[in-house]
């Protein structure tokens, strides 16, 4: 070693330099381990909780435990107990324990439809005490895709069987309906042939009768035009005559007015005569009434008339 020291200055204190280098490397590696450990939660305080599963299927050590979508722990151990049940221990980060109630449920689910299995713990009922370290929770398996398919199959198969039976029953509604449709289509064919014949006949009739009718209508329109022309010519004459009639009416009204004015002095006398006539009429009606009354007392009408009231007229204790 002294040999190098002697020849090259860079090799001076070589041991010290090497020791510093190794120490820095070891320190960096240690720091990296610590950071990874912190990241992985190796230094986070955890609390064990337990549940019992009916089988260990789909359960595995290291399986994540999630709460509201966040990983808060993992499955630690799986063990079969004396009754053949699976005792499961999961480690939950202690700081999340206060969020979980005693009646929380641990569910085995799939992430997505065909994803890995995870354990998801529910929050539990508000108001219940928080779950303590070492506590037990209930376990259930969420229905997965396979189970859903089985349920659907169980429901659909009987329906398919019914449909199959309905379609193949010779006396069933479907077969009968098809038979009726077949017969109907045969009848429809006959109906169509008859309809074709009727339409052909209608076409012939239209050609033979509607044409003359249209011709007649055209003639009537021409006549109407002629009448309108006549009216155009005669209407002014008629209006002139109406004016003349109105003038005559006005003259007649004036004549009546004059006549009334001339006879005005005679009106009181006429009114008196009218009043007298009315009085006589009234008397005549009275006499007629009397005659009717008198007649009603004689045979053969007498039997139908009520007898006269024999008693005194009404008067009570307060009159």
């Amino acid at each position: 070693m002294t040999l190098f020291d002697d020849k090259d200055e860079r090799f001076k204190n070589l041991f010290g330099k090497t020791a510093v280098f190794v120490l820095l490397a070891a320190l960096g590696m240690g720091l990296a381990f610590v950071l990874v450990g912190v990241k992985k939660g190796a230094f986070t305080a955890k609390s064990p909780i337990y549940f019992v599963a009916d089988s260990g299927q789909d359960l595995s050590e290291g399986m994540p435990v999630k709460f509201s979508g966040f990983k808060i722990g993992k499955l630690d151990t799986l063990a079969l107990d004396e009754q053949g049940r699976v005792q499961v221990e999961v480690d939950i980060e202690s700081k999340y324990l206060r969020l979980i109630r005693q009646d929380a449920v641990m569910s085995l689910k799939k992430e997505g439809v065909i994803g890995d299995g995870i354990l998801e713990i529910s929050r539990g009922t508000e108001g219940k005490p928080a779950l303590a370290a070492g506590g037990r929770v209930r376990f259930e398996r969420a229905s997965g895709l396979e189970q859903a398919v089985i349920e659907v199959k169980n429901r659909i198969m009987p329906i398919l069987d019914d449909i199959h039976q309905t379609l193949h029953d010779p006396d069933g509604d479907v077969r009968q309906t098809l038979k009726n449709l077949r017969e109907l289509s045969i009848e429809m064919r006959g109906t169509r042939e008859r309809l074709d014949r009727v339409l052909g006949s209608l076409d012939t009739n239209l050609n033979n009768q509607v044409g003359p009718l249209l011709l007649s209508l055209r003639k009537s329109a021409a006549n109407a035009e002629t009448v309108t022309g006549k009216l155009d010519y005669e209407l002014p004459v008629l209006l002139k005559k109406a004016d003349s009639s109105m003038e005559s009416l006005r003259a007649a009204t004036e004549t009546i007015n004059h006549a009334v004015q001339r006879s005005a002095p005679q009106l009181p006398g006429m009114i008196d005569e009218t009043r007298d006539t009315l009085g006589k009429t009234r008397k005549l009606i009275g006499d007629t009434q009397q005659a009717v009354d008198s007649l009603s007392t004689h045979w053969p009408l007498k039997s139908d008339t009520p007898p006269p009231d024999p008693g005194p007229v009404r008067m009570d204790s307060h009159d």
Binding site: W299, S303, D316, S317, H318
Partner: protein
């Protein structure tokens, strides 16, 4: 058509086959016609014409010695005179029946005359004479006649006028409960009950009974009594301190009485 002619022939044959009713003598027919005319005039409110026609009928009946008819017509004449506010003439007509020494008029006519005389005397506040006439009527009736309820109602009224409100109340209540009394007499009885309660300082009950009497009088369309009922209601309401109601009843009574005077038939 053929069947119709056959039917007419059959009808005529049946008419000819039955004996025609023998025609009454002319005087009897005339008396009947006059009586009928008088009743019609009375219904129409033509009191003077009714009086004239009843007088005509009476003359004819008396000339034919129809004492029963004469008595009825004299009672009718008395009633018309009372409606004409000529109570002196009314009492004179009734006395012609009641003071007849010989028993030529039927008992029913004498009973009716006595009762109506009592009513008219009560209206004149001649309570002693009214009571006397009423007792005579009651004696003739012997509680068996149709006027029995009217007699009791009038007796209750006389008791009230004599100041015996308790007695009037008991008697009128008994009449008011009788179904055979007729609506008019029941209303009269209710009015007496209410008036007696009014005197006995029982305005609540009086109000109730005046209301009931008002409903009955309205149904009978007796304008004068409706006015009386409304005045009674006004008095009872005033006693109860319900001045607003009392004023309303009084106003209604005034309107009813004024309208009645305006619509009264011209005699």
């Amino acid at each position: 058509m053929y069947k119709l002619i056959l039917l007419i022939f059959a009808g005529l044959l049946a008419a000819c086959s039955s004996a025609p009713v023998v025609r009454q003598p002319l005087a009897i027919e005339q008396a009947g016609a006059a009586d009928k005319d008088a009743r019609k005039a009375l219904r129409d409110g033509e009191l003077l014409r009714a009086q004239h026609d009843f007088a005509t009928a009476l003359a004819l009946q008396q000339s034919l010695d129809d004492t029963a008819g004469s008595a009825t017509t004299m009672i009718n004449l008395a009633t018309v005179a009372h409606q004409l506010n000529d109570d002196r003439a009314a009492l004179a007509w009734l006395d012609r029946i009641l003071l007849e020494k010989e028993a030529i008029y039927p008992q029913q006519a004498r009973l009716t005359a006595a009762f109506r005389k009592a009513v008219i005397l009560a209206d004149q506040a001649r309570l002693g004479d009214a009571d006397k006439a009423l007792r005579f009527a009651d004696k003739l009736c012997d509680r068996k006649c149709a006027l029995n309820f009217g007699i009791d109602a009038l007796r209750a009224r006389l008791l009230l006028l004599n100041g015996d409100a308790q007695g009037a109340l008991a008697l009128a209540q008994a009449v008011g409960k009788q179904d055979g009394a007729g609506k008019a007499e029941q209303a009269n009885a209710l009015r007496i009950v209410a008036a007696a309660e009014d005197k006995l300082q029982r305005p609540t009950e009086a109000l109730q009974h005046y209301q009931a009497a008002l409903e009955m009088d309205k149904a009978l369309a007796l304008s004068e009594r409706i006015g009386e009922d409304l005045n009674g209601l006004a008095r009872a309401s005033a006693q109860l301190g319900r001045d607003q109601e009392a004023a309303e009843y009084s106003r209604r009574a005034v309107l009813v009485n004024e309208s009645r005077r305006q619509s009264d038939p011209v005699p």
